[in-house]
Symmetry: C2
Subunit: 342 residues, 2 copies
């Protein structure tokens, strides 16, 4: 690996500066991505290895991040489980027949992921070849709870109250579905690693709608199953948005790193997670609207607060579509010019 | 006051059981409210003292909560400042010409609230007369940051990124607008107290979209101005949703109580807020979908964890419209039958 800074930070080694990558770096704010978006619909871009590869490598060439993340979507997994999600332009994910009953849940099946999601594996192999050892490649999946949320709700939501109502009033059907998603996710991440990804990240985008007690019941235990099953094959990053209350238990899961959203101070995150785990985050995506000079100052303050070791610079959530490319370059440049303290 | 449990809990006195009220208790889940909703549009209900009074008193008669909260909306305040918000049925608040520039912000004015919002004062006086000392009456306002969010965005949002972009790129215009909202809010809450409310609550519904550093800059300092200006006239409750990181600074503001959403453990909230302040919350509104028996167990666990003193039972956010009335009664009944420990 020409640039293995990201892998070294995940192993907790002393580094010259922290590595940097950006959630959703492969996409929407890049003009060349928008040209591809105008020609091909969302899941065509995911399913065509040449397109997924081109989009995945784009920010490595144009932005200079220290890791690539496969262009794909967390919903390709439930698609392979019998839930045919579509992506409605301007609206987001949509499932015409969401899971609303025990019998709906029973119809969801654990697929052969290497067969059903062979296009992901092909995209990984093609991307690895195109990257040619420049930077590591990150694979990913949604958390079981997050996939469950979309499967019940059938679309995005602020609060996922339908999903919560289902979980709270049909707990045995909910757990049976969550276990099927977990089993599929473990097989999926193992297949990604076998196909070449160097690291995997699990996104629990909606764990934060649950209370701490319900998070443990409906999300935490499944996240831990995944980490346990995968961690010996590749480093695992767990990003549970809004779940600061779970940092200490997730820290003990065997994950190599924990992702953080922007609503926690670095010092508080270090204290809650304990000293031994790498942390990743947590610049407010909307703070990239600020000037290049302000971004540089805030990034340096952030690295000072987290410390340069056991730390990966990232945003606290995906990059916003209308951020100017120059501001993204200022963000990455700030990390690369972070002054070494004597 | 026939039932002054709520006021005693706010003063930190030892009580026989904690008081209970429910955010948005005056409304949507009650069949009698839905009949009024079918006849009168949203702001007509707010602006007609007879209707506001009837709706405010309804849960006292039908649910038996220990406090009434005036039926109104946080957006009546910006309406009085030259921002004519409408309420679109099924969609929520809407402002046709939101604040998008410095000159838009300059046109927003500090009104004479007693004149512009005389219908609120009339509703308070009529409600107090109708309550006839049975339980205390809570008045309220939105936080300056939350009103700012709606004023810039012009509607609801998951992330309020337009508001954040405005604040981050036009900080001086943003602070000037936030100060005008703060001045109006102080006058508004004082007028409410003069008209008869016993307690006021400030809702910072969207402080949680900010990082801890930006919360202090764009929300915390204005919340503190309000508490400082009002606290000697009535007890103030500050509910900053998603702002667990600010509990210690808000605890030192002079507020009598802090509201909590459901994503924090009671023990963590007590530790962050310190021992001397009353806490209010924080049952997950979606957990009211559970059975009456489960609700009772969870409420008792919650009271055990917070302790019965310096505590007000509530939800962690507004009640959901489709919660069965029987489940709401089970929630209130659980508090009233909480077993005294010897």
């Amino acid at each position: 690996m020409t640039n293995d800074l990201f892998l070294r930070a995940l192993r907790g080694e002393v580094v010259e500066r922290p590595p940097v990558w950006i959630m959703r770096q492969a996409g929407r704010y890049l003009p060349d991505f928008m040209k591809l978006k105008a020609k091909y619909d969302f899941f065509t871009r995911c399913r065509t290895p040449e397109l997924a590869t081109e989009i995945t490598v784009m920010p490595i060439d144009q932005i200079g991040t220290d890791a690539a993340i496969l262009f794909s979507d967390i919903l390709v997994l439930p698609q392979a489980m019998g839930l045919p999600f579509e992506m409605k332009p301007g609206k987001g994910p949509f499932l015409a027949s969401p899971v609303r009953s025990k019998s709906d849940a029973e119809r969801v099946y654990v697929p052969d992921v290497e067969e059903e999601l062979d296009y992901v594996m092909n995209a990984i192999r093609m991307t690895k070849s195109e990257l040619n050892g420049r930077v590591p490649l990150i694979g990913f999946a949604g958390s079981p709870w997050t996939i469950f949320c979309y499967s019940i709700e059938g679309q995005g939501s602020k609060t996922f109250n339908l999903a919560k109502e289902f979980a709270f009033t049909n707990p045995s059907a909910a757990h049976s579905l969550l276990q099927k998603i977990t089993d599929t996710t473990i097989a999926y991440l193992r297949a990604q690693i076998k196909s070449g990804v160097d690291v995997v990240q699990v996104f629990d985008s909606w764990g934060g709608v649950l209370s701490p007690v319900d998070f443990e019941i409906f999300s935490g235990q499944y996240l831990r199953q995944i980490v346990e099953a995968v961690k010996d094959e590749a480093p695992v990053i767990v990003f549970a948005k809004g779940c600061w209350h779970a940092l200490s238990t997730l820290s003990a899961s065997g994950a190599s790193a924990l992702g953080l959203d922007w609503t926690i101070r670095p010092e508080a995150a270090r204290e809650l997670a304990g000293g031994d785990i790498t942390l990743q985050g947590n610049f407010d995506p909307a703070r990239l609207y600020s000037s290049a000079g302000e971004i540089k100052g805030m990034v340096w303050d952030m690295i000072d607060a987290f410390g340069k070791d056991r730390y990966i610079v990232n945003l606290g959530h995906g990059i916003l579509p209308d951020i100017p490319v120059d501001n993204v370059l200022a963000f990455v440049d700030a990390v690369k010019t972070y002054p070494q303290k004597p």
